[in-house]
Symmetry: C2
Subunit: 197 residues, 2 copies
Amino acid sequence: MIVEKAAALLNQQGYLVSSVYDVMKETGLEKGGIYYHFGGKEELALEAYRFARDLVGHEIKKALHSTDSSIGRLYALLEVFRNLAHGVPIKGGCPTMNVSIESDDAHPALCTEARNAMAWVYKTVKTVVLTGIEKQEFAPDCNPDQIASIFISTAEGALMLSKLFDDTTYMDRAILHLKSYLSSCTANLSKPQGGPS
Amino acid sequence: MIVEKAAALLNQQGYLVSSVYDVMKETGLEKGGIYYHFGGKEELALEAYRFARDLVGHEIKKALHSTDSSIGRLYALLEVFRNLAHGVPIKGGCPTMNVSIESDDAHPALCTEARNAMAWVYKTVKTVVLTGIEKQEFAPDCNPDQIASIFISTAEGALMLSKLFDDTTYMDRAILHLKSYLSSCTANLSKPQGGPS
């Protein structure tokens, strides 16, 4: 599938910086064929990003459905990040972080899609925490926005480090830390507020 | 200064994705002048990145010299990240994260420089913690590698979120969390190991 091959390439080499020639080599299409399929280089980047984003989105939904426990769902989401650090389901790290760093106001369509995708992940984590508070799994006074922020910041930053140094240890450390942090927010602890202390 | 203007532009728009035409508009140079000064587009990206990296490096060194306390030094480093989220000393986020996401094996010079710069930041944080252990500010059994990983992952990830959503709240939350985490690693607490619990 052309978009699948393009996504695999662009998530590693960059959605905007990769040349049409790179995509020709990867997909086996001629330049005319790429423009026929995608309309242009920015549309190609957009379609490839959507494909990669949906691959990761599918993994996130699977993780959410893997258990009824709120903390279990967050642990399962952490495994999605661990897998990304290992190049699964796609090599090159988090498509949404990649696009968010690469694109700016000069590429409004890509930028908007990345913002929407990250907002969805944020809302997903926050909703799991809110449900966990209702179900008395999380402490009633823990802060869902604080938890969602720390969860995503730490995991995405660790993914960047793991990719840069080609060493998944950074992700392993982030997951160890976030599990400890999430435990400190559960209902059976006395000091569940935002920070870990 | 030409490289200063180029760095200000490329740290926002992308080191590799920005066109020579964009740089011409920003610097007022003709295309020939840009090639005369920088030799080529990749050299331009490299010089602009080095300028931006050194701007941030200068802020990091200032933070380290602002106090003798190890935890105080890490708090001062957090303010460097907070300032970056506010576009100080340069707009567009962390130059090293930007380059690390944008560049890959196809751009070995940029990739190597970004890796070296991030390794320097990592070593800096780790050394502050090691010194803090020697000075009995940090607990003897806390893990300097774990602390350096979590510090950088969380701050860089929060910078990405703050930039993507144009909202420094994500950075404020990361700093709140990291201060709490660092406090849990200080010598007067009984459970200083890697995680916050």
